[in-house]
Symmetry: C2
Subunit: 393 residues, 2 copies
């Protein structure tokens, strides 16, 4: 009666291993200032527009005349319409409001989307990978095929005719590698998916970091994607909502597989097993799309981007090979002198008191690579890069 597939899940010790090594370093070197560039969490506070909107919503909730009880599970129209407008303005993508589902974050939706598929499905997942893609499918004993993302393909695997899969997870800008697919590359994926009856689960959580106007922020910029793709987005990195919890998933109404309309299925899933995002949070998310809100969140993103630029310059000067950093908050580089990921982790911690994430923690192709994030303060980022640049390698 118990789902025994849970026995096949590997415990992840990545961040607890990191914490242990950092604790050990700190107790041996109490005078050294450790700079943490490991975890992909934001550090800048919520912007004023968002905070004011949420406080105002709190006031609405305190008054019987404006109090909100149960809202629509799929989100309030004011927020869905704002997202439709955002897609139109930013990406020239036309969506209907009922193709946008507001949720408590991309992680929930990426995990729960597995509900819509049968257990005999074949899942293609690039390695290195955001662990949720793998674990949520191991929980269902689904056949997982890993696609190599590596130095040769710039960490952007393309379709392989010899591999048959029903569903592929793509993340661009990528976590952990920061690599970004071009429109031409995504067009190949979309065409391949349509020819082979595949569904693309497109994780666009980092879309707001794209500055290069030629790079796609949404898979729906690609012709044909509305017949084969679902897109997951988040306010977490766009507007600092990692602790405020709001995201959205786009399921086009033209996505019909085996006679089943996935938009209707997801609506049914969410109305049955979810009860919507707090009204207060939806009002905060809505403020992100006001002109003042856009100005404020852009300023925050620019701070992280400036950090990424400083980091990219340092890595370039040191002659490190890397991806990410221009259109992404992540920088992913090859460990110098053929060091292993954990070997370099210890080297960087012991010699520069800088904490990053060993690439090996994200999959076998991550071995020998290393991730740093641009989500710290500018001051710490400059200091960490100064220490890194002075390292004798």
């Amino acid at each position: 009666m118990i789902n025994n597939n849970y026995k096949n899940l590997k415990d992840s010790y990545l961040f607890s291993d990191i914490a242990k090594r950092v604790a050990s370093f700190t107790s041996a070197n109490p005078d050294k200032k450790v700079i943490r560039m490991g975890i992909g969490d934001v550090t800048l506070p919520l912007c004023t527009s968002v905070v004011n909107a949420m406080k105002s919503a709190c006031d609405e909730m305190s008054n019987a005349a404006t109090f909100k009880g149960y809202g629509p599970e799929q989100g309030y129209d004011f927020l869905r319409n704002a997202i439709v407008d955002y897609y139109k303005e930013q990406d020239n993508v036309e969506l209907a409001a009922d193709e946008v589902f507001i949720s408590d974050g991309a992680k929930s939706d990426i995990g729960n989307i597995t509900d819509l598929f049968s257990d005999d499905v074949n899942i293609l997942i690039p390695d290195p990978v955001y662990p949720v893609y793998v674990d949520s499918n191991i929980m269902l004993n689904r056949n997982i095929i890993l696609a190599d993302a590596n130095e040769e393909n710039g960490f952007l695997p393309m379709p392989d005719q010899s591999v048959k899969a029903d569903i592929v997870y793509l993340c661009s800008p990528n976590n952990p590698t920061g690599a970004v697919y071009t429109k031409e590359q995504l067009k190949i994926w979309v065409d391949y998916a349509k020819t082979n009856n595949m569904i693309i689960l497109f994780d666009a959580a980092y879309e707001s970091f794209i500055v290069d106007k030629d790079l796609p922020r949404s898979i729906f910029e690609i012709e044909g994607a509305k017949e084969c793709a679902i897109e997951f987005c988040s306010f977490s990195k766009t507007a600092g909502f990692t602790g405020t919890r709001c995201g959205y998933t786009v399921v086009p109404k033209s996505l019909v597989v085996e006679g089943m309309n996935l938009n209707k299925m997801w609506l049914r899933r969410q109305t049955t097993k979810f009860n919507g995002v707090p009204y207060i949070v939806q009002k905060g998310a809505y403020a992100v799309f006001t002109s003042e809100g856009q100005k404020e969140i852009r300023a925050n993103i620019d701070t992280y981007r400036e950090n990424a630029k400083i980091m990219a310059e340092t890595l370039t000067a040191k002659g490190f090979k890397f991806t990410g950093g221009i259109n992404s908050p992540y920088l992913w580089f090859k460990c110098p002198n053929n060091m292993g990921s954990w070997e370099f982790f210890d080297f960087l911690l012991n010699n520069a008191a800088v904490v990053g994430t060993p690439g090996a923690g994200f999959g076998k192709n991550g071995e020998g690579w290393f991730r740093l994030t641009a989500f710290g303060s500018k001051e710490n980022t400059i200091e960490a890069m100064d220490r890194l640049s002075k390292l004798t390698l």
Copy 2:
């Protein structure tokens, strides 16, 4: 590749059918004031302590020094500990903080708990029923056995040796019937579950409406329940959080089935497919447990209870058979003159302009029964009961 079980879900037209009939009545009778007692949503605003705590948390989120990014998926310790204390004080139940999982509501957890079980499991569900129990299992093609809840057993079905099931859903105080299990009855269920290796999924969303000190608010008041039960709770009806979204689920560490620890499994499920409740909302939920918060929410619950009392008195005076109303916000009564549920719905709407919910919408045993909720204003409740008492039946 698609989960074809979704084809087996029946579309629910219950509330849309109700809306249509009400709209038709309103357009034919524009001068009549319709009083709605159908939907189980609260109407009183959030209490001052909760609103102030959330606004203060908004301020914390606007300052880098106090900003909160990702929190623990299973909730902040301040809230988990407050719930542990509440169980201790209210129910004399001892829990550990890591047995309490904070979520965005009981509906999500009740829907998602299905993840922990295998697909060959047999599910026992009382009828009439909260539809999520049924639909979330139809989505997985699980074998569903309905247990009759009816006038004969006071809408409180007891174990039936001739029925073999692995999991049973119990809801007490019940939605839709308002019936409440006694400690003795729950002890029989717990003993039966332990003897037969069953798991009890106990929905306690309405526990705060229990006034009778002899009735159990938590299944963990029953000896042995920690070895066979999971309990789902919510701030929705307790503190008016239907649009604010917070609940909690208790999975005892001693609940081990087929060698698998369900507490660890749920932790793994939640850390993989969920990212926690907004910090702001958790601070609001925490305020519910302060002495001021308790005073305020008790005053709100008392308002609903007073409504329920007025309703119960009216139903008694009319000679209606009913359950609920004393320890529950729902009143469930037998339609007079052997009317069918929908027949009485139309009768009540046309003759008293009062909207309720036909019991038939909750399952076959609901036919001939009718649900009214006590969540309206006192003024409307008095007026509706005045109209009902004047009806010639």
